[in-house]
């Protein structure tokens, strides 16, 4: 490919392609929080591969380890055979992540994507409880294969299934019943009333911050209530930390501040460190009941991802990264609050926490306009929510002040331009 043009994609790739439509250029290289296209245009990345690039692009330490591994003909693909690099990952993940947090999990490699992890978690919860129903939440997103899609809220994505989706029941997420605070009481009533029509579930599955669903962040006390609901009724608690995990909210697991201990945790996206496909399902030993091979997948042992994923764990040896993310999160929060006040035409509401914050706008189509302008000015950012009503700041958690400032500056410019447009309200 010699030129930066999109003809080849129009010609050969399916209509299902989507991000290329919002970011219409041909990317070529990337480093840290920057990307370059084939015309050497530079872009700041406030998108981070939808959470798969929390450490930014092509981290230098990981890169060197990866090059070495390939150079010395380390085994690339080994299914779930034992490999040196997999062993090293397992050990380090235990020592650096699980042990210090007093978490006790067996690690399953369910196939290299988040939806594989969710599917394995649902299967397992159903197997160990003998029940079929799973409670999911309004605006939850868990993946695009049929099992994961059944616990996903988005109507457009659900319709894509082409079949009715079952074995799940949607409950109100924190603050869904606007300002009534009745969500927990209602959930308990449905579960305890023999006449409610809701079967006792195998599990409750949730994201602590709903990334795709509009950056809805559950309060810690709500998460604690959900854990209590599970414990009192022998329901498994599954936290899908695919997007909110691996540091995105400021702690390795997003649920740490709540002090809860899920029975199963789904990890993927940034767990491989370098953007390479990898997923983990963490299982409390009491529930480690799959028979050998009862769930599997060809790419469940991606050794290159083990190499970079192991290196990435060094970020968690001390609390420096955590602190940095938490401090910068406050700056982002302040910035967004300021935007909402300064530009009332946004009709904006703050959403999210950590490095997954954004603004929900009551103005139809506004969020899309903002991200479109951002792109023109060299900032990659996407929208979220079932009506794309939220613009979503998702910088690498390793971003420095310079990068963050530059990105925020572009964002304000885009907001300003958008709110100054005459025909702002389009519908």
């Amino acid at each position: 490919m010699k030129e930066n043009n999109l003809d080849i994609f129009d010609k050969h790739e399916s209509e299902v392609r989507s991000y290329v439509r919002g970011f219409p250029t041909v990317f070529h290289q990337a480093k840290g929080y920057k990307l370059w296209d084939m015309d050497e245009n530079e872009y700041i990345d406030f998108f981070s591969g939808a959470g798969a690039l929390n450490y930014g692009h092509n981290d230098e330490n990981m890169k060197q380890k990866l090059l070495e591994y390939i150079q010395e003909d380390g085994i690339a693909h080994s299914l779930d055979m034992a490999s040196k690099t997999k062993g090293e990952f397992l050990q380090k993940f235990h020592e650096i992540i699980l042990e210090p947090r007093d978490l006790n999990y067996k690690v399953m490699f369910p196939g290299p994507t988040g939806t594989n992890s969710v599917e394995s978690a649902l299967k397992l919860a159903r197997k160990v409880t003998g029940r079929t129903n799973v409670i999911s939440f309004t605006n939850g997103f868990h993946g695009m294969t049929i099992g994961a899609l059944s616990v996903t809220g988005n109507a457009f994505k659900r319709n894509g299934a082409g079949i009715p989706l079952h074995h799940s029941f949607t409950m109100p997420f924190d603050n869904y019943m606007q300002n009534t605070g009745q969500e927990i009481a209602y959930i308990e009533r449905l579960l305890d009333d023999n006449g409610s029509g809701v079967e006792l579930p195998a599990a409750i599955i949730l994201e602590t911050v709903q990334g795709e669903g509009g950056l809805n962040a559950a309060r810690m006390e709500w998460l604690q209530s959900i854990e209590r609901i599970c414990r009192e009724r022998d329901i498994l608690l599954i936290i899908d930390d695919v997007q909110a995990g691996v540091g995105r909210t400021g702690t390795f697991f997003s649920f740490e501040p709540a002090g809860i201990k899920p029975d199963i945790v789904c990890l993927s996206k940034s767990i491989g460190g370098y953007g390479l496909p990898l997923a983990l399902t963490l299982i409390h030993p009491d529930y480690d009941k799959f028979a050998p091979g009862e769930h599997n997948g060809t790419f469940r042992g991606n050794n290159m991802a083990f190499v970079t994923g192991t290196e990435a764990l060094n970020y968690w040896k001390d609390n420096q990264l955590e602190k940095s993310v938490q401090e910068k999160s406050e700056r982002i929060y302040a910035f967004l609050k300021d935007m909402i006040e300064k530009y009332p035409k946004l009709k904006g509401t703050h959403r999210g926490r950590g490095f997954m914050q954004g603004i929900a706008s009551d103005v139809d189509g506004l969020a899309d306009k903002v991200t479109e302008k951002c792109f023109k000015h060299g900032l990659i950012m996407e929208t979220a929510g079932s009506d794309d009503e939220v613009f979503k700041l998702f910088p690498p958690i390793t971003i420095d002040d310079e990068g963050l400032n530059a990105g925020l500056a572009i964002l304000e410019k885009a907001i300003k331009e958008t709110t100054e447009e005459k025909n702002l309200v389009t519908s």
Copy 2:
């Protein structure tokens, strides 16, 4: 990890791990058809990552391209944004694979695994036809997520779902009604009889050679009949070529000798060339009807796999590899026929075609014993079939004569030893 021992996996990895149980050692390096463990033991590979390593391990040309790409900070992860390397892959795949075979497909990247591709194919077929039912076949295998599992035959794997599996109907694969030749007539009767209870399906999905299901190879005329059945009733034909494709049977697509043109083709495993996660769903333009993002996945744009996958396509510029595979397939066939005759205690029947052949044994547990002994003698090989009744030769298609001979010699040794055991029949 310093030592070749498995404690760390026992301690930290889930009970679901399986291949490590059959090949109990810690692998470290690999090249071509060879693997080495941490004690420098050498193994010949007649397994090929279950079909993900058709070109063998760490192919030198691919390796160099990959090192270069990483070295120059080529973008690693880009979802379905356009990237230089993705564009190159698309173009080359069109020129080298599709065009010469007179095949007209749009390429979808559904997420990096075979099951992602199958899920996308099923969703799309249901969407474009407005029907929900899909015909699958006895002993078919299509993946472990709920959509794909619903069209999979294996009872152990289906039970793992924890929920009833629907929206599919299992039909007899070629030669399933032993020696009656009635399969096609029965399928047509069920489809055409308004009283049969079988809904007109959106699609028929099949593997031309059932890899997991026991190396059952459909005859070309049977495949042609299935295509005709589809055409006459407006049913989509989906070929799952995840395991049998990318040269495994001697042609790039396994269905080429039948002269059929599926509406949708699922590819994964070896399409990335180097064992890196990648999957493609090939869609006839008439059915390219997903809305943007209606199916997606975080790792659907794995640029490293594009780099190696593009390089791998060079193997298909001329027919040298094809010829080599076809010639060696005949040698494997002759060898297996010889084994069956020479070792009548095997109670063996030949199965499969191309580089996916094997022997089904009527002796309970025999195939497992053979592969166990192979491993002890330095040959990696697995079993297949719903009762693990088949031992399955799956060498890299790039293997040379020396490697093939060495592997076959070990296999014969293992067969000999097994059949000489006293308590051969165990049940």
Copy 3:
């Protein structure tokens, strides 16, 4: 059968039998609000065949018509062929019931039971909308066949299905979210939010007073809100008036006071007048879209039930019965309020309206004790609610003052005795 003993039922009838356990005697004759067993013991009927005997037993006018019809060899069974008596029923039902209420329905005979009517209503709603989901309510009861059971709330009954029940979503009935008044807002939010996970339904099905579910009576404004929700979103409104209809609440249809016009109405139980199996599905002409025979049933044309059902319609020629029911309902209400006050140990709450009122007790097992004592004193009455926490007054709507007084007196006696028991609270 010569003697009043239950051996024959113990010996030959399935364990599934239930009412015989609460009313352990062998009944023989019945008239009006009275029953007699084989020992000539007399019982007052506050049960009315669970709503199938609203006009009491063996109404003299209906009896004479029925005897005549049988005597003259009127055709007994005619499926959905035309018959004289069916024609007469259709005409009179139109003239006396539909026309004066300004209701416009085509009449379907879906098979002779309430569950047949519900199944036909659900099928039709799905057919005409092309959607599969149906909204049902907490503590709703609609029948025991799989379609109807799927929209029923009771866990014990749902478990009896032996399969997961789908294609329905349970919503909070009026006043389910105790004293918050949020039910309608929540329902609207779930229906309008593209991320809620709740599919746009074909229909909403409800009982205005939940008979089995614990005598929960929806307020008229709540019913109006539900109708509005349906109209605004092109959702069909199905009222299951099987138990609450045919005068039970004081008007022929239970929904009349709300002024709503359902798209489909299910009627059964008392529609045949004499306790003979008959059911109707009333369908707004716009939705009368079944093909001939697309739903059917052997006993859908029960001519004897047409004879008595036609005669029964005379009760609705003027408003005398209506007035009587409404007056007596007020007396029942006053009586129950008095009981709650007079016997605080009941921990009672009033439930229901019309001739379907009762008391919910917070004391575990109390309602069962009350009905047990009633039986001993010659009053037939049952419990309701998912934990049988409600005792339920269900006299014939034709009962006279004497009967009502006698029944209430026995009931008070039973309440008094029960609340005087030492070990009242058993759990």
Copy 4:
């Protein structure tokens, strides 16, 4: 209703009505094998209420018992309370039917229709086995509620469900794989092959003669094979004898000549004797495991049907009726064989056995023309089969020679006229 006209039905009854379209007149009276409409036209009944009137219309003995019962105010409706007349039915059914046939069943009253019985049988089989799948057969018919419809083959009826139908798997009925005799072998293969994709079922449900499905009569050895298949795999055998039972094939139960003993038997239609709604589910005591009320229905205790049903059992005190049916069946067989030969334009094949025989015609639309002409000449007869390709002789089993001769004469006349029509082949 004064006149014999159909306007009232056109105006007020739903479009779903069907038989009235084939037999367009208003019936009024009936006796034995004769019906009369409002214009005093007489019709011979070769339809018998689709099997609900095996004893003909208004049998004199039953009529007298019924009149007496109503006259003396016998209780009409009593749910599953004990009643004198129910006790008498239970006892007599045990003595006259079950005991002499060495059958051991508890009797369940599941609601008054065949589909109620089928639903209860399926629920129970699933409950006692803990499995969900049920094997049904091509062209089987079991009812119109969702559970029963899921095991029904007819596409038109299945489509009416408006939802996908699950938890069942359709297998080939006897002789479905035309003249190959492979059905039993194929069923066994699917059940025993762990890779077939067919779950071990809770039950196999079948009709020995498929009434709606085209009068396909299973051979006795086939039924025995099915019973053996069930016994060897702990699968429950459910015989749906709703249409073929109660003497229709010449013995009380249709399966008697095969010597098999089903685990569950469904009875309805003629079990009430007089065309009154009643259904029974016969359950082997080992499987009598429903909890009280786990399945129920308002009209499960139809005392009038107990009265007539008890009287009807007298027909089975000796073997006179059996012998008569068997002799006349042979005459019907001879007659149909003769028609096929004499009128080759029929392109006819004989179908069925006993008093459920008919001719399947290869000529599109011919069967409908024959029954249409029959009606014009005063004979009521319907078609069967998924394409209405069979005309179906279904006289009362109590018919005398005169009636049978008269009916057959009309039928031949209709056949003769139809085959003489010019444009016989219409499609």
